[in-house]
């Protein structure tokens, strides 16, 4: 027999309580992984969708706190296109749009001459021709969900669009994106001449000095700010709020799990007062008695964490399967997040067991044995 076996024996005494505690830890870990995975995945998916279009700089209205938060006039495009080092500029208007099938989709309006078109992978159909109106390219996941093919039509914001192609992007957002002519979306959203942002393709995107110089030239227009596309969400307030809320909920869940471990062990210690006295009477040191209790906390946390990983991964897939979420984000917790969460839960569980363990060693053996 060793300490680990002894701890298991003690936990087996109250199987229901031990299982429920481990389940509580599992739910806490699962919630943490899912919620943190969600906020991270939103960030990564939006980032990936921007990068997939081949953009190096994103130009937005200065002071805009989030990506969808403001518009800029498309008249900025020719001025920016003339800046040395700029290869191409494309406007992009984004809007959530209701379809005639009562689905909310993300619609993007692109100009006819956008460099975005060079990076559109087609599953079927074709790209729009210059000047073509009321046509749409639909992301493959959305097309499958709505059972649409090239040649079908889709109602967007009350107007019918002919689906001329199905795209096969990699990012979840783009795989659920409906791309329409910029003019059509501007008209339907009553934002003529407006863009959500401008994407800029640079001649030397790897040269920081060049990027800085072009950014400053763009920002000479006092209402604009230019950000490297890979950093565009770094200070985004919506992402910040989502992260903060997810983090708060995740930590609360995790701390509740720790409190469950603490409570269970506290009850166990109070129930086993006499036995702890016996251990002291047969020569167990305070440190050894503490260690025995802490090992029980470790076991509960470790089992809970293992089960929590399963719950977290399953929960992430379930979230992604909900259309309202899955169209914008694929919740995929990273191995790093999973490992860090499990480790944090185990460490916190061990820390949570220190108080009951300390309490166990505080009691006098004589009192514990009913001798005083």
């Amino acid at each position: 027999m060793n300490h680990l076996q002894l701890a298991f024996r003690n936990l087996e005494r109250r199987p229901a309580r031990s299982v429920l505690t481990a389940l509580g830890v599992a739910l806490a870990v699962g919630s943490f992984i899912t919620l943190y995975g969600l906020s991270r995945s939103v960030y990564q998916n939006v980032q990936q969708s921007i990068e997939e279009h081949g953009s190096d700089l994103t130009v937005r209205r200065r002071g805009t706190a989030e990506l969808f938060g403001g518009t800029i006039p498309e008249t900025n495009e020719p001025r920016i296109a003339k800046i040395p080092g700029v290869v191409a500029v494309s406007g992009d208007l984004l809007s959530l749009a209701a379809t005639d099938q009562d689905a909310q989709v993300l619609a993007a309006g692109w100009p006819d001459d956008s460099f975005y078109w060079q990076n559109v992978p087609l599953e079927e159909g074709r790209q729009p021709q210059r000047g073509e109106r009321k046509v749409a390219l639909m992301g493959i996941d959305l097309a499958r969900a709505l059972q649409k093919h090239a040649g079908d039509t889709i109602g967007l914001l009350g107007e019918q669009f002919k689906i001329i192609g199905i795209t096969r992007f990699n990012s979840v957002i783009n795989r659920n994106l409906v791309i329409v002519p910029l003019t059509d979306l501007q008209e339907l959203t009553f934002r003529p001449g407006a863009l959500t942002f401008l994407s800029v393709k640079l001649a030397h995107p790897q040269d920081p000095a060049e990027v800085d110089r072009v950014s400053k030239a763009i920002e000479a227009a006092r209402d604009l700010s230019a950000t490297k596309s890979e950093n565009v969400l770094r200070n985004d307030s919506m992402i910040g709020v989502l992260r903060a809320v997810s983090a708060a909920m995740a930590w609360v869940a995790l701390l509740m799990g720790v409190l469950m471990v603490l409570n269970t062990l506290l009850m166990a210690v109070l129930e086993r007062t006499r036995e702890i006295g016996i251990l002291a009477a047969i020569g167990w040191s305070r440190g050894r008695i503490m260690a025995a209790i802490v090992i029980e906390g470790f076991i509960l946390s470790a089992i809970g964490s293992a089960a929590g990983i399963v719950i977290g991964v399953a929960g992430s897939h379930l979230l992604s399967a909900i259309p309202a979420i899955g169209r914008f984000v694929a919740v995929r917790p990273t191995p790093g997040l999973i490992a860090a969460t499990a480790l944090a839960a185990i460490v916190l569980g061990i820390l949570g067991s220190f108080y009951p363990a300390w309490l166990a060693t505080r009691q006098s053996p004589a009192v514990a044995l009913g001798r005083a």
Partner: protein, 233 residues
Amino acid sequence: MTPAPLISFEHVGREFDEGRIVALRDVNLAIDKGQSVAVVGASGSGKTTLIMLMCGIMFPSTGLIRWNGEPVTTSGAWTELRRSAIGIVFQEFNLFPTLSAIENVEIATFGTGIDRGEREVRAEAALKAVGLGARATHLPHQLSGGERQRVAVARSIVNQPTVILADEPTGNLDSVSGGAIMDLLFDLHRTGGVTLVVVTHNSGDADRCARRIQVRDGEVSEPAPMRVPEVAS
């Protein structure tokens, strides 16, 4: 030079409830290695307190306790003594209900620095010594009262202690089982040379000891022995 007594009490007193209850007052006694000592007295006279002080489960309010001439004053020192030199047998058996007989014995070897295999060997040997080799895997609830107390005795001897302190070890047993437990303790004393201190209400058991310590109202006295004791070999 005369060796120091194994245990000595120097003006030891023990009070409870901030001095309102005096359990023991000004106790001076010495127990030599290899002795058998009976502690007798009425209920509440302070016998158990005396035993609890001897093993450091309780600390004296006044005075000093020495082991082999060395004062023992810290809980750490007492813990080490209980692990290596003191075996304790309680009236209530005090076994762990979820552990088998052999595991209940082995648990006393944790922290002694011996490896797991050796711990198991020692626990098995201790159980055999008390005649329970065949019941090693039984849980306490599967054993009779006498067998449970034998397990407790095995636990007390597994670390080959210098002294066994037995606090009314037959108090929860019928006379036959109780007699067998006392025989076992005296066998260990005789054959192993272990010092034996027994709290007992049974005058017959007390008579088997070389010394009798009388505790009355917190005071300790020592009448002359009434008969020839069973001497450690």
